[in-house]
Symmetry: C2
Subunit: 324 residues, 2 copies
């Protein structure tokens, strides 16, 4: 006797839209990414052709997974994604300008319920369902990647704010009149220091302000990244250590402010910078504690996400579909 | 036929514990403070004698209001008040050290249910029930007094955090390595600039850094407060205006960071400093907007509480009793 697809365990689709590429996959209830793939975001000047290519590629995965009848819904994580309206609004790193009704476009194409939120919020839900934040009701997710994103969970729920845009810790000002953020025009935001670009700029600045020898002096400036700084630091490079120390100082100050705002049980860090381990975590913890008033001291865990990086974005986005 | 007290409209008691004095009153469901009074906090080195005097004085009001049978419960607002445990923990401005089980002490004495939270959280609930935040689900309450307190409401609920201490925006660092806060030992917190003491210190600094004539030069340094700065500014005093401009700059930066955190519909300001009106509100708004990224710009209202100052603290605390 044939078993119909819909009687099998239901699955969810997770789509993570990034500035360069878009990852998507089909995920089961316990967080296994069964099938996944990726397309370019950047090459699509028009969102319509992006949706077409996404549909084409996802259809192959859906077929592999047993057909559309097994899919409960679609969750989408995207920069500047608005949970309430399902739109992407003025995302500086995406090719599409203005307000894009992305959830509706996906829903019309796939004929499935679609929930959209910003990528860091999706990551927070993913951590709550499958990762380091399981069982927690109050935590903050910080994604340290090309940009710095955040998702804030209080009393078991994501904070969306009155307009759906809450949780932009990356854009909070940590150093007044500090480093210019090219994308926003603002000065001294967390993102201008703790993002991939931020670490690169710090490396260049630190090297310019010291005569100390460094392995990093042999790396072309535009190729410096946290991986190269890490490799140098592991070989005892003092300049490389100083770069992490400075980055951790800024990040720690920002975390202290976040803690005094929503008093989370833990802060979950995710992204390339966390691979530096204690080189970045130690100064981050120290400077967070140093800026906290007494009632908050020695209470808040800084944890690194243990979700597989290639899966985490898809997992987080798919988690939205179960919640809906 | 006599009507028993308990068949009448129920009432609530609000108690607001401050560093200097403690205000308390009996409030009806719609926010009328029917009876109120005040005792000294400061003179009680022991919390036990404080509770005794409070009981004595409140008993008189309870009798006037028709007896204990009409009282539904007691709400207490206190610095470093913990909603979950009902304790006051390490409050630097109160005479009692360590952890004080205040809710239990009050409950044992009055034999009524007691809910305790920090004073700014209580003020936020008061604004939500009776004031400028009626109908709002996402707002931030900022109290600008001896200290700077805050209560954050997201999706209709106060954010308490994992330990009950969320909402300490006054202690977030706005100027790294900035002005020392004598109470906390931290540098550059919002409270070190936007509190009563902060405004006084700014006035002294601004006068020292300029040769401009000012009416404030005739005021003994320890008597400078925002009222005197306001009076001078209203007479066209340039130095006085600069003091508000500077204070508004810091406050505006702090509000921008808060907005990018929880994206509130409005920020409600309360306290002496707000009496300066546009002298403080205009620079605050300008600097808030200047530090916000695009998606948050021109959306967030800065409102001044219109609750009567003498009633607001009692109202806010009493509102807790209705919520329980």
């Amino acid at each position: 006797m044939a078993t119909s697809a819909s009687s099998l365990e239901p699955l969810a689709i997770g789509i993570d839209i990034g500035g360069t590429g878009t990852k998507f996959g089909i995920v089961d209830r316990v967080g296994n990414v069964l099938f996944s793939s990726e397309i370019s975001t950047k090459k699509h000047a028009e969102v319509a052709t992006f949706i077409d290519e996404l549909y084409e590629n996802l259809s192959i995965l859906i077929k592999k997974a047993g057909g559309i009848g097994r899919i409960k819904g679609i969750g989408v994580g995207a920069p500047n994604g608005n949970f309430y309206s399902g739109t992407i609004e003025y995302a500086p790193n995406l090719p599409w300008r203005g307000i894009i009704p992305l959830a509706k476009l996906v829903q019309d194409k796939f004929k499935l319920p679609v929930v959209l939120t910003n990528d860091a919020n999706a990551a927070a839900i993913g951590e709550m369902m499958y990762g380091a934040a399981q069982g927690m009701k109050d935590f903050i997710m910080i994604t340290l990647g090309t940009g710095v994103g955040s998702g804030i969970v209080a009393n078991g729920h994501l904070i969306y704010g009155h307009d759906g845009f809450a949780g932009e810790l990356g854009h909070t000002i940590i150093i007044p009149d500090g480093r210019l953020h090219e994308g926003t025009g603002k000065k001294g935001s967390l993102e201008s220091y703790a993002s991939a670009t931020g670490v690169k700029l710090t490396a260049i600045e630190v090297m310019e302000h010291t005569d100390k020898p460094s392995l990093l002096r042999d790396v072309p400036k535009d190729q410096i990244d946290s991986k190269k700084v890490y490799d140098a630091a592991m070989q005892g490079d003092e300049v490389a250590k100083e770069i992490f120390e400075f980055t951790g100082k800024i990040l720690g100050m920002a975390l202290a402010n976040a803690v005094m705002f929503s008093s989370p049980e833990a802060i979950i860090l995710f992204g390339g910078l966390t691979k530096a381990g204690d080189l970045i975590l130690k100064p981050t913890r120290e400077h967070m504690e140093a800026n906290l008033i007494q009632v908050f001291q020695n209470k808040v865990k800084i944890l690194v996400s243990h979700l597989k990086e290639s899966d985490a974005a898809i997992l987080g986005a798919s988690a939205l579909a179960w919640e809906s």
